[in-house]
């Protein structure tokens, strides 16, 4: 291990008695994933600018993904379709088909699994690989990265950009640097020249709010962030300040979490963009009723109960918020989820003061198997819990036999 080239096997001393080897972490990002998969199904599109987009009528009229050609015309992810068409009149717009993407995502996961078993997916088209244990067998980090790229190109016809570094944050930055079909290696020798000049917003988890706050104090690059005093960052951001400091300086010790496997869901959620802006509690409650029902139904389908309810809100200024609450016990009863979502809504949104809502989401996490026994408690053990569960399961069965609209809540009836 001692003689290995590159960042592999380099000895780092962290304290007087401690001596550690750096990890070798890869971040793989499939290039233009949705659009590339669509082109595999329709090869005639390959030479044309292609974008995957929602339907204009239902206000989902934005670009979800585009291919390299469309990119050259200036088409950007997230912009309205009409704007892209103005830039690129020949743009071919394909409606999204998640089942295709899930299938290809699974196929890439099988390829990654040939190189390591420590894989943490990050969305459908990205993931981290910890290949530290594989280098003596398969070659160093950059070599494995190139190998993965070639395999994915040859076997699937897709391209992937790979970042190689000793921490997850820099590996992720690396995969963004060269596209498509490229390997970028960020080492302890070159990170100051490669990473530090980048805009601070490029750093993972630095969103609009944090980015704006940093810019206000004159921090516009990752290097400037790294140079700040950690205590000062903590005074600005609280605990988050420690993380920012670590991220910018390559000190992030986050491990590639293989338990984050896609097989075992961490949460089940649904969100929707409404056809009209929501500006009253009643309308919002109707939307949440539908979302809670579908989330609860999926949970019952998977025989999982959850204990944490999250509500996400996006107003018509696209400002996004998420709030969550822990329930007293695990549940998959639609009504329980709805009650929690509604009370979260009332605490965090006031239609008289706040902007109308454009999209709402409900998510359940802290999941566990439905058969885990329930510890009875001295209070608020709902005496009707079993009855409610059986009503919901009965409704599931009726819907399965007679269709989704065969049984509905009274509240939804009013909306028709």
């Amino acid at each position: 291990m001692f003689g290995m080239p590159g960042i592999v096997g380099e000895i780092r001393t962290h304290g007087p008695d401690e001596c550690n080897y750096d990890k070798v972490i890869l971040h793989c990002d499939l290039n233009n994933f949705y659009a590339s998969v669509e082109c595999l199904y329709k090869p005639e599109l390959k030479a044309k600018p292609v974008a995957v987009g929602g339907s204009v009528e239902k206000r989902h009229g934005i670009i979800l993904a585009k291919n390299q050609l469309a990119k050259m015309y200036g088409v950007r992810t997230g912009e309205p379709i009409w704007e892209s068409v103005r830039k690129c009149p020949d743009l071919v717009i394909v409606p999204p088909d998640m089942s295709k993407y899930v299938k290809y995502s699974g196929m890439t996961a099988e390829i990654y699994a040939r190189y390591t078993d420590i894989i943490e997916p990050f969305g459908i088209d990205e993931c981290w690989l910890d290949v530290t244990g594989s280098i003596s067998l398969l070659g160093d980090g950059p070599h494995i990265a190139d190998d993965i790229r070639n395999t994915i190109r040859e076997e699937l016809g897709l391209t992937v950009s790979v970042g190689v570094s000793w921490n997850k944050i820099f590996a992720k930055l690396g995969s963004d640097m060269k596209k498509p079909d490229a390997t970028t290696v960020i080492t302890r020798d070159n990170y100051k020249s490669l990473v530090w000049p980048l805009p601070v917003d490029d750093l993972l988890f630095v969103g609009r709010k944090t980015g704006a706050k940093l810019r206000r104090i004159g921090v516009n690059t990752i290097g400037k962030l790294a140079a700040l005093d950690e205590a000062y960052l903590v005074s600005l951001f609280g605990k988050w300040g420690n993380s920012l400091y670590a991220f910018a300086n390559g000190l992030d010790a986050g491990v590639v979490d293989k338990d984050w496997s896609s097989i075992k869901a961490k949460g089940i959620g649904n969100s929707t963009t409404t056809p009209h802006d929501v500006s009253s509690y009643e309308d919002a409650k109707a939307v949440l009723t539908g979302l809670s029902e579908s989330v609860a139904r999926r949970m019952r389908e998977h025989r999982l109960k959850g204990r944490t309810v999250s509500l996400s809100l996006r107003d018509n200024d696209l400002e996004y918020r998420e709030r969550q609450r822990c329930l007293n016990s695990h549940t998959y009863v639609s009504g329980d989820i709805l009650d929690a979502a509604v009370s979260l809504l009332r605490e965090n949104w006031d239609p008289r003061k706040d902007k109308p809502l454009r999209s709402l989401g409900v998510r359940m996490s802290s999941l566990e198997d439905e058969n885990v026994p329930v510890q009875l408690s001295l209070w608020d053990s709902d005496p009707n819990a079993l009855k409610k569960e059986s009503i919901d399961r009965t409704m599931d069965m009726i819907r399965e036999r007679f269709g989704d609209d065969s049984v509905i809540r009274g509240l939804m009836l009013r909306k028709r």
Binding site: V372, P373, Q375, L376, S377, L378
Partner: protein, 366 residues
């Protein structure tokens, strides 16, 4: 100040007051121990919530006071080479510690800045033997709740009336109650002591019949064993009316040896290797003189029978074994009576005679 004392006495006092020294404070002085020399030597630790004072005999050559970092002081005194320790605070708050050939010169802090432990005034006084208090704490404290959303349950309720002292802890899933007769007069009071402080109070007492004096004011409580004084804030608020929670009637009652039952449940839980709640221990009766204790997990299964005398309905109930184990471990009786109320109702462990204790446990719903 200048004192000469025994290493053993010094170390013991440091160990006691260190329990009340904060480990992560923002003020350096709170990381310190206050040392005051007068007739005797008094050490103080205070994290602004719990304060402990401990006094010991020493040859006080010169009176005075100083504050010195708790961890540093503890480590130094513990490692000194000889039994005799000379401790001197001179100008500029420099502390000189000498023992045998070892000579330390350590920076201290001015004792002026050390916060004052609240004085417990207008108090009600309860006097009980130290071993009784220690026992009662040990027998109830495990049921104190950690759930911060119900602060009153983060402590034990101590209630005195008519010559009886009661200590109760409830975490929502179980309850632990102990009663003891007290000789002499006791006031009629009810108050809630934070679990952490009560735990320390249990530690400053010993197994002797010497008395501990408990002073209770509106917001604070002090435990005084003579050498050691501990002051804590009280938890404000009304405690739960626990008498209404403990059922008076039962569908089933069994008498059983707590020792047999405890070891059977401990054996049954050996194969519960994951989250306790996921796999319960099942208590079941098929006839009137045997209780079947069993468990089925991904590892395998276990089954054991314990002799009992049953009156009432047969039972088949799932429990979190931990709750039974915690309670049975602190019961020192030949036999106990356990009452059940169906597989959703509370179960209560009581003595065969009298009402010295009650341990309530709620079942797991299948």
């Amino acid at each position: 100040m200048k004192i000469i004392c025994l290493k053993e006495n010094f170390t013991e006092a440091i160990n006691i007051v260190q329990k009340a020294v904060s480990t992560r404070s923002t003020m350096p002085i709170l990381d310190g121990i206050l040392i005051e020399a007068d007739e005797r030597v008094k050490l103080t630790g205070y994290d602004l919530e719990t304060g402990i004072e401990c006094s010991f005999d020493a040859d006080v050559i010169e009176k005075g006071s100083i504050v010195i970092n708790s961890k540093m002081l503890g480590d130094i005194i513990k490692k000194l080479p000889e039994e005799m320790v000379k401790f001197e605070a001179g100008t500029g708050n420099t502390v000189v510690i000498e023992s045998g050939n070892a000579h330390f010169s350590i920076k201290g802090l001015d004792s002026e800045g050390y916060p004052k432990i609240p004085v417990v005034e207008d108090y009600e006084k309860i006097v009980i033997p130290q071993n009784k208090l220690r026992e009662m704490v040990h027998q109830t404290i495990f049921a104190v709740s950690n759930d911060e959303s119900r602060p009153v349950l983060n402590g034990c309720n101590i209630r005195c009336a008519e010559g009886v002292i009661e200590m109760v802890a409830i975490d929502g899933f179980r309850l632990a109650l102990r009663r003891n007769d007290v000789d002499g007069d006791i006031p009629e009071v009810s108050f809630i002591v934070p679990g952490k402080s009560l735990n320390e109070a249990g530690r400053i007492t010993d197994n002797s019949k010497e008395s501990v004096e408990i002073y209770k004011s509106t917001n604070h409580i002090m435990f005084d064993t003579g050498n050691v004084k501990m002051v804590s804030r009280l938890i404000a608020g009304e405690y739960m009316n626990y008498n209404s929670i403990i059922p008076k009637t039962a569908e089933t009652t069994i008498t059983v040896s707590p020792e047999f039952l405890l070891s059977a449940i401990e054996r049954a839980s050996l194969i519960i290797t994951t989250d306790e709640r996921k796999f319960p221990v099942r208590l079941m009766t098929s006839d009137d003189d045997r209780l079947i204790i069993s468990s089925n997990t991904e590892v395998g299964s276990v089954r054991e029978e314990v002799p009992i005398v049953l009156t009432g309905n047969k039972i088949d109930i799932d429990f979190n074994p931990k709750y039974f184990i915690d309670a049975l471990k602190v019961i020192d009786e030949e036999e106990v009576s356990i009452s059940f109320n169906g597989n959703m109702g509370p179960c209560v462990i009581r003595p065969i005679e009298g009402n010295a204790f009650a341990y309530l446990v709620l079942p797991l719903r299948r």
